[in-house]
């Protein structure tokens, strides 16, 4: 009898929770109207790495000399806590053809790192640029787990570590300048502009020289869209850009979580049901004791 009461209570809570309709997870974010970004054209890049050096200077970073040449060269091998922007070389093992590749924060339209961040230290701020606020970051590194591009880096060798990633030179934009990498590129391989303008520029290039490119602008829709866009003559996946589909990377996790916690109804219902069952049980046992 008492157990049946318990089960009935829980069933009621379950029904309540199920009644909270799934579907309406928070909608994917739209492109901000003032979104800016970069367009990198791998076919134009000559691998001079002027952008890597300029980025280090513009952001006041300590050059990473650990990679090559016994400390004589700034030669980082990957994005790291001292490198927000990098040029790598991809060589096809089969035919020996090659391509350079530039990597920095993609400034996703609906970034997984922003979904992850507990207090909104990482957030899309002005121009849709994902920036980091020191006072709201506890250093949990959930952004590193979440980012499908492996972009945010962390100062593991510091007692007072920061999250390090490209913020599209937002400090320079505030002074009316453009991002350092785009400013110094001698070949116009990376250009800066409004996302809409970059997209139409990329479309024009694809239309003008279709044989030159893989027929796709990476970032137009990938992972829900990014503000940094890519053109290439080599399949994007080989350059290290993952095939994400058109959904934002954090979509599944968000849908699951928002379904369970919609309107916070399920937890409240469960709490009520648990308390109800316990009161019933206690009353029943008190009566049992009195008999």
């Amino acid at each position: 009898m008492r157990r049946r009461t318990a089960l009935k209570g829980l069933a009621a809570a379950g029904a309540f929770a199920a009644g909270a309709r799934p579907a309406a997870a928070s909608a994917p974010l739209a492109v901000p109207p003032d979104a800016v970004g970069l367009l990198y054209d791998a076919t134009k890049c000559i691998g001079c790495k002027a952008c890597v050096v300029a980025c280090t200077e513009a952001n006041g970073l300590e050059p990473d000399r650990s990679g090559y040449g016994e400390g004589r060269y700034q030669a980082p091998v990957a994005l790291n806590a001292r490198t927000k922007n990098i040029i790598t070389l991809y060589t096809d093992p089969a035919d020996g053809s090659s391509s350079f590749m530039k990597m920095q924060c993609m400034h996703c339209v609906d970034p997984a790192c922003v979904r992850a961040c507990m207090l909104g230290s990482l957030k899309k701020r002005e121009h849709g640029i994902v920036t980091w606020r020191a006072d709201l970051c506890v250093g949990c590194r959930y952004c590193q787990v979440a980012c499908p591009f492996n972009v945010p880096k962390f100062e593991y060798m510091s007692a007072v570590p920061k999250i390090v990633k490209c913020e599209l030179c937002s400090h320079r934009l505030a002074e009316g300048k453009i991002p350092a990498c785009a400013e110094v590129c001698p070949r116009g391989a990376v250009i800066y502009g409004k996302r809409e303008e970059l997209l139409s520029e990329a479309r024009q290039r694809l239309a003008a020289q279709p044989s030159r490119y893989v027929p796709k602008i990476y970032g137009e829709h990938d992972g829900g869209g990014t503000q940094c866009l890519y053109l290439s003559h080599v399949p994007f996946e080989r350059l290290g850009l993952p095939s994400l589909g058109t959904e934002p990377a954090g979509r599944v996790a968000q849908t699951v979580q928002h379904t369970i916690y919609k309107g916070f109804a399920a937890p409240v219902a469960l709490y009520g049901a648990l308390a109800f069952v316990m009161f019933r049980n206690r009353k029943a046992s008190q009566q049992g004791g009195a008999e």
């Binding site: 157990r3 928070s26 250093g139 590194r141 959930y142 979440a146 570590p161 994400l244 316990m278």
Partner: protein, 397 residues
């Protein structure tokens, strides 16, 4: 036949206590080093594998092991099996200590620990999309709830304290807790339901970097069920060890009952896990004969092995069988959680992670400190039921 909980008593500075102290001291030297020179100075975690064993073992597995209080509370308060009530207090103590240790481990792990207090306080900055925020807030509140649930054990002793402040605290605190017990205990069941399932949802955000054998929208449910099996196992281990070490009466018949509850929990977990893998068309991946597939199969084997051991009611009455099965249960749950957080996570071919000695020694240190706290508390405060000596046992029975 039931016996009121009593302090174990006896001297604290035993040889094993000094050994634990030494392990804790080594661990905290390592931890001091980490705070002075940065995480990378002692840990192998890196930009590819930002979470290592501090998170996967100390927090994600540690809190599941600390679900004894939750698992027994469901049995006693929801399913109304009052006969298990003598297990509640000691289960709650292990839970309170386990969650407290998880918070210590989090503080060691996160880089900017000085900002941690802002997470519960800065409510206007809360990112309600963040699954980790929900886990963090739930764990914080639940840890407080656990110590409140535990508080009658402390008040019991402090009522007779010579310190008037402690006496006053006990005389006002005890009736308050007793009056609001239902609401507190209900909260103590709601919060683990929320954050133990959300611990599964946390890694879902890794998206396609999580291996398909573990990457499923059912992660929250699987994590919730797995914490129950681990919780019951933790109670069996804790009770058996405490009885053996402190020369108290074994609670075998109650533990046998728990073991009976474990069977459907484990079978349910394996059924869910296999059905999920099959429905997502990943059966092939389970037999790929690589490291990940082997570990996934090992998980399932470890989940089922205790079921086989505990199948017959007679086997469940044997202390050694109960103990072995509980170890297997803990191993199964721990492997599932570590696999989901570390093995299934693949940030790219050139990233490697294997826990460093620093991570291991600091973890051992934190665990040793937790066990020391357990010993101090059960010796000083009325936690354990069952009579202390053979003579008392005769009186009690």
């Amino acid at each position: 036949m039931s016996v009121q909980p009593q302090p174990v008593g006896g001297s604290l500075m035993t040889r094993s206590f000094r050994a634990l102290f030494a392990i804790a001291a080594v661990g905290f030297v390592v931890i001091f080093y980490r705070f002075a020179f940065g995480i990378g100075a002692i840990a192998a975690i890196n930009d590819g594998y930002p979470w290592g064993i501090w998170i996967a073992l100390d927090v994600v597995t540690g809190t599941a092991l600390a679900c004894g209080g939750y698992a027994v509370a469901i049995l006693v308060y929801v399913l109304n099996r009052g006969q298990y009530h003598p297990l509640v207090r000691s289960a709650l103590l292990t839970s309170a200590l386990g969650y407290t240790m998880a918070i210590v481990a989090v503080t060691v792990d996160i880089g900017r620990f000085w900002n941690l207090w802002r997470v519960p306080v800065y409510f206007w900055q809360w990112n309600l999309d963040s699954i980790l925020l929900e886990v963090a807030l739930c764990v914080a509140v639940y840890t407080v709830v656990l110590w409140i649930e535990m508080s009658p054990a402390f008040f019991d002793r402090w009522r007779r304290s010579s310190n008037p402040r402690l006496r006053a605290l006990a005389t006002t605190g005890l009736p308050f807790v007793e009056r609001n017990l239902v609401w507190i205990v209900a909260l103590g069941m709601l919060l683990p339901t929320m954050h133990q399932s959300s611990l599964g949802a946390v890694v879902l955000l890794a998206g396609q970097r999580l291996h398909p054998l573990w990457n499923t929208p059912l992660l929250p449910l699987l994590f919730l069920v797995s914490c129950l099996g681990m919780g019951y196992a933790a109670v069996i281990l804790e009770s058996t060890l405490a009885s053996a070490l402190f020369h108290r009466r074994f609670e075998t018949s109650m533990l046998a009952g728990l073991a009976g509850v474990v069977l459907p929990v484990q079978l349910g977990f394996v059924a869910l896990r296999l059905a999920d893998i099959a429905l997502r068309g990943q059966i092939g991946a389970l037999f790929a004969f690589d490291l990940r597939a082997t570990l996934a199969l090992l998980e399932i084997f470890l989940m089922l092995a205790p079921v086989a051991l505990l199948w017959s009611p007679a086997a469940r009455q044997r202390r050694s069988t109960l103990f072995r099965a509980a170890l297997l249960l803990v191993g199964a749950g721990a492997l599932y959680r570590v696999d989901t957080y570390l093995v299934a996570f693949n940030p790219g071919a050139h990233w490697r992670y294997f826990p460093s000695l620093g991570e291991m020694f600091s973890s051992f240190g934190m665990i040793a400190l937790e066990i020391m706290a357990y010993i101090v508390i059960v010796k000083q405060f009325p936690i354990l039921s069952g009579a202390g000596t053979a003579r008392r046992e005769e009186v009690a029975v």
